[in-house]
C-alpha cells in the first residue's frame, strides 16, 4: 500500500476535525528525537499515534528518502502574524493556514503587533483569534522585552510569563542599551525564559538597504555591513556571560543570524559553555545578495559575479527581496548552511513577515522588509538537500526537536519526535513532487515572495496537529 493510497482514506475531512483513522504505509519516517530515520509505517487512530513500525530488510525495499517523508510537525520560533493591528497583511487565521500548508504545527508569534504584545491582554486577544480560526495549529507567542518595544522600560515580564509566553523579544527594534539587555536577561532568566535578540547595531545600519558589498556597491544601494550584526552578537554574548554568573537560568537566543562572523561567535560561545542558542532562516541559507542583481541561482550554485556569470535572469531591485537582516553573499549563506549541519544553529526559523502590496510594490529602499516564509521554508531547505548540501535528518531536526528544545516545555507537545500513544503531530511531504509558488498557491495574505514563479521541491500532502487535520493537499 502506498502512502498516497493511504492518504486517500482520509475522508476529505475538515480542518480541525479529529483524524479518525490514518494509515501511512511504506514511507520514509524521520524521528529527530530517537535519531532514527528509515522505512516505516505509522497508524493514527482517534487523533493518537497508535503504532509506529520500522520496516527492515525486504520489507523496506523500494522505500527511500526521495519519496514520501513523514516527520513530526514543524516548529517556527519566529513568525509575524500581524494581528492585532495590521490585519490587511495577515491575520492569525491566515497565518495559521500558511503554517499548516508549510508543515508547521507549532508557531511562535512575534510581539511587534499594534499594540505590542507587552502585557497579557494582547496575548489573550491573540489566543482568542487562534481559537476562533478553528485551526489546530499550536499558537505560542513571544512577549515584548520593553514597554511598547521602545527599549526603555521592562515590559510586564512576570505577568507575561504567567500568561504563557515562550520568550521575550523586541525583534526588529533591537535593544540598544546594554543595561536594559542585562536586566532583561537576568529577570527573564529567573522566570526560566530566553531573551530572543535580533542582533543589529542600528548605528551602523541607518538608511541601509542591502548587504554592504560588491552587489550593493554596483547597484548603488546603501550598505548594511556584516559588522552591524557581528558587533551586536559580540555585545550580547559579553552581557550574557556577565549575567549568567549571577543568574544561572539566563538564556539568550539569537534569531535569524546571517553572517559567517556572527555564527562563528556563537560557535565559540557554545564551546565555552554559554547558554546561547540561535536560528537561521531558509532565505539566508538558499538566497544571496546576487538575487538583488537579478540572479536566481541558489546560494550553493552561486557564481562569482551576477553581471557576468549568466545567473541574472530577472530584473534587479525586486522589492520582495528587501529583508532584515539583508540577503548576504554566498560565503555567508554557506556559513548559515554549515551552522545547520554542525548544529551551531539550533533551529531554522522562517521570520515569516507578510506585507500588503502597498508596502511592497514600491522602490526597493522604500519596501517594508520581510519575506513570507512559512510556506516556502521546507522547499528551500529541501533544495539544499537535493543539492547534497544538507542531510534530510538535519533539516527535520532543525525544524522540530531543535526549536522544540528552546521552547523549554511551554509547548503542549510533550515530544518533538514520534511517540506511540501521544496526539499525532506530523507532516507528510513528497520529495519526488514539486510545486510552483504562486500567489494563489499561498495561504498567507502576504503572498508577495521573491520565489513567486519558482518551482520548489517537496509538496506537503498532509499536516496533522494535535491529532486534528490542519492541511490536506487538494
Amino acid at each position: 500500500m502506498t502512502a498516497g493510497a493511504a492518504l486517500d482514506r482520509l475522508a476529505a475531512g475538515e480542518v480541525g476535525a479529529v483524524i479518525a483513522e490514518l494509515d501511512i504505509g511504506r514511507a520514509w519516517l524521520v524521528d529527530p528525537v530517537s535519531g532514527r530515520e528509515g522505512a516505516g509505517e505509522l497508524v493514527v487512530r482517534d487523533g493518537m499515534i497508535e503504532a509506529i513500525t520500522w520496516l527492515e530488510g525486504d520489507e523496506a525495499a523500494g522505500v527511500d528518502p526521495g519519496g514520501i517523508v513523514v516527520a513530526p510537525g514543524f516548529v517556527d520560533l519566529h513568525a509575524h502574524l500581524r494581528e492585532p493591528g495590521d490585519e490587511d497583511a495577515e491575520t492569525i487565521a491566515t497565518g495559521l493556514a500558511a503554517a499548516a500548508h508549510g508543515g508547521f504545527t507549532t508557531v511562535c508569534a512575534m510581539p511587534d503587533t499594534t499594540p505590542a504584545l507587552d502585557e497579557p491582554g494582547v496575548l489573550a486577544r491573540v489566543r482568542a483569534a487562534a481559537l476562533a480560526s478553528g485551526s489546530p495549529i499550536e499558537l505560542l507567542a513571544h512577549g515584548a522585552v520593553t514597554v511598547g518595544r521602545a527599549g526603555e522600560q521592562l515590559a510586564a515580564l512576570g505577568e507575561l510569563a504567567d500568561a504563557g509566553v515562550v520568550g521575550f523579544t523586541d525583534d526588529d527594534a533591537p535593544i540598544a542599551m546594554a543595561a536594559i539587555l542585562r536586566n532583561a536577561l537576568a529577570y527573564a532568566g529567573a522566570l526560566g525564559l530566553p531573551i530572543v535578540d535580533h542582533a543589529e547595531d542600528r548605528a551602523l545600519t541607518a538608511g541601509a538597504e542591502a548587504h554592504d558589498g560588491y552587489v550593493a556597491t554596483v547597484l548603488g544601494l546603501r550598505g548594511w555591513p556584516a559588522a552591524a550584526e557581528e558587533s551586536a552578537v559580540a555585545r550580547d554574548l559579553a552581557v550574557l556571560a556577565d549575567v549568567v554568573r549571577d543568574v544561572p537560568g539566563a538564556r539568550l537566543h539569537l534569531t535569524h543570524l546571517s553572517t559567517a562572523g556572527a555564527l562563528e561567535l556563537v560557535r565559540r560561545a557554545k564551546a565555552a559553555g554559554l547558554p546561547v542558542t540561535c536560528d537561521v532562516t531558509p532565505h539566508h541559507v538558499a538566497l544571496t545578495d546576487a538575487w538583488l542583481a537579478g540572479s536566481r541561482s541558489w546560494a550553493w550554485d552561486a557564481g562569482a559575479d551576477p553581471w557576468t556569470d549568466g545567473s541574472a535572469v530577472a530584473a534587479p531591485y525586486d522589492p520582495g527581496l528587501r529583508v532584515n537582516p539583508p540577503l548576504r553573499p554566498a560565503a555567508d549563506a554557506a556559513a548559515c548552511l554549515a551552522a545547520l549541519v554542525d548544529g551551531t544553529a539550533d533551529a531554522v526559523a522562517t521570520d515569516h513577515a507578510p506585507h500588503t502590496s502597498v508596502d511592497t510594490d514600491v522602490e526597493f529602499g522604500a519596501a517594508a522588509p520581510g519575506i513570507s516564509g512559512l510556506e516556502t521554508a521546507l522547499g528551500l531547505l529541501l533544495a539544499a538537500v537535493d543539492a547534497g548540501r544538507l542531510p534530510l535528518a538535519r533539516v527535520v531536526a532543525a525544524l522540530t526537536a531543535g526549536p522544540g528544545a528552546i521552547l523549554g516545555g511551554r509547548s503542549r507537545r510533550r515530544s518533538f519526535g514520534f511517540v506511540e500513544g501521544a496526539p499525532a503531530d506530523l507532516v507528510v511531504f513528497d520529495r519526488s513532487d514539486r510545486w510552483t509558488v504562486t500567489p494563489e498557491a499561498l495561504a498567507s495574505k502576504g503572498a508577495r515572495s521573491p520565489l513567486i514563479g519558482r518551482e520548489l521541491p517537496g509538496r506537503v500532502l498532509l499536516t496533522v496537529a494535535d491529532g486534528r487535520l490542519a492541511f490536506e493537499d487538494a
Binding site: E209, D212, G213, Y214, A216, T217, V218, L219, G220, L221, R222, G223, A304, D305, W307, T308, A315, P316, Y317, P319, V358, D361, V362, E363, F364, G365, A366
Partner: protein, 360 residues
Amino acid sequence: MSVAEPMAAAGASASEPIVAPGTPEVDAAPETQSVPWSHRHLLDVDRLTADEIDLVMRTTDAMREVLARPIAKVPALRGRNVTILFYEASTRTRVSFEVAAKNLSADVVNIAAATSSVTKGESLVDTVRTIEALGADMLVMRHPASGAPYLAAEIFGGSVLNGGDGWHAHPTQALLDLYTIREHLPPVPAAPGEPSPALLAGRKVVILGDLLHSRVARSNIWTLTAAGADLWLCGPSTLLRGFEAWASRGAAGRRFTVTSDIDAALRDADVVMALRIQRERMASGLLPSLREYAARYGLTRTRLAAARPDVVVMHPGPMNEGVEIAPDVAAGPNSVISGQVTNGVAVRMALLYLLAGTRT
C-alpha cells in the same frame, strides 16, 4: 544656463562631427531605420555592448550634425509624447532632455514631482500608470531611490529612460562623457590588417571625489571600462567604500584601480573627471571639513601639472568651484565642461531616437 545655449554652442565649440557609415538617417522616423539596437528601455549601461555604445556614439554624431543646422530640428518623433518626471531638483539634465525631445519634434510634458500629486502620497506605481493613461510614449525619470526606473519599466508600456536614480546610474551622463572624451581624444587608427583598438585603449582616465554617492561614477565605470580605458577611482577612503570589492570582482578586462593617493592617480592622466562634493557628507562624518577636502583632493593647477599636458578636464556639474575643482581649472584651457553640456543634448537626442525605434 539658458535653454538655447547648448544648441547655440553646438556648432561653434567643437570640431565638425563626421557621420560614419551605418549610422541611422535621423531625419526619418526611427522605426524605418534598421539599426542593431534592441533595448526598449535605458535603465543602466551595465549591459550595453561595445558595439551598442559605438552605435550611440555614431547616432550622436548624426544628432550633432542636426544641431549644427540653421533650424536644429528633425521630425523623427513627431506625434510621440515624451513625459519628463523628475523627483529631484535638476536644471541641466531636465532641460537637456526637454531640448533633445523638442529637437526631435516630440510633444513634451514636464512633471516636477514637488508640484504633482506625489506630495499627496501617490506611489510611483500609481504615478507611472497615470502618466501612461495620459498618453505618454516615453518616460524620462529621475528619482532619489536606486532602482526606481526598474519599477517604472515593469509597468510602463512605453520606453523608460533613466535620468538618474539614487546612487545607481546616470546612463545619459556616462554616454555624453564618453562622447566628449572621444571628441577630444580620437582613437588611434588601426594598423593595416589589424582590428580597431578599443576607443580608449591606452588612455588613463581618473574619476576623482565622492564615488560612494555618485551615480555618474557608477555609470562611467561601465562605459569607460567597456571602452578599454585604464580607469582609476580616487578620493578619500570613506568615499570609496565598496569600490575595491567591485574592482576586484569585476570581469577580466573590466577592472580598474582604486586609490586614495591623488598624486598617483593624476600622474600621466589623459582625462580627469571631478565629482561634486556635497555639504551633507560632513554632517554624516565622512569628511572632516570641506576645507580639508579642497586641500587634499581639490583639482588645482598644481596637481594637474602631473597629468599629461593635453589632459581633458571634466565635471558632470553642478560644480562647487574652489572645493572639488579650482575656478582656473574649471575655466582653463583643458576644461571641456561646457562641451559636456552641449553634447548632452545630442546624446539624449540619439538615445530617444534609438529607443523610439524599438516600438511602432
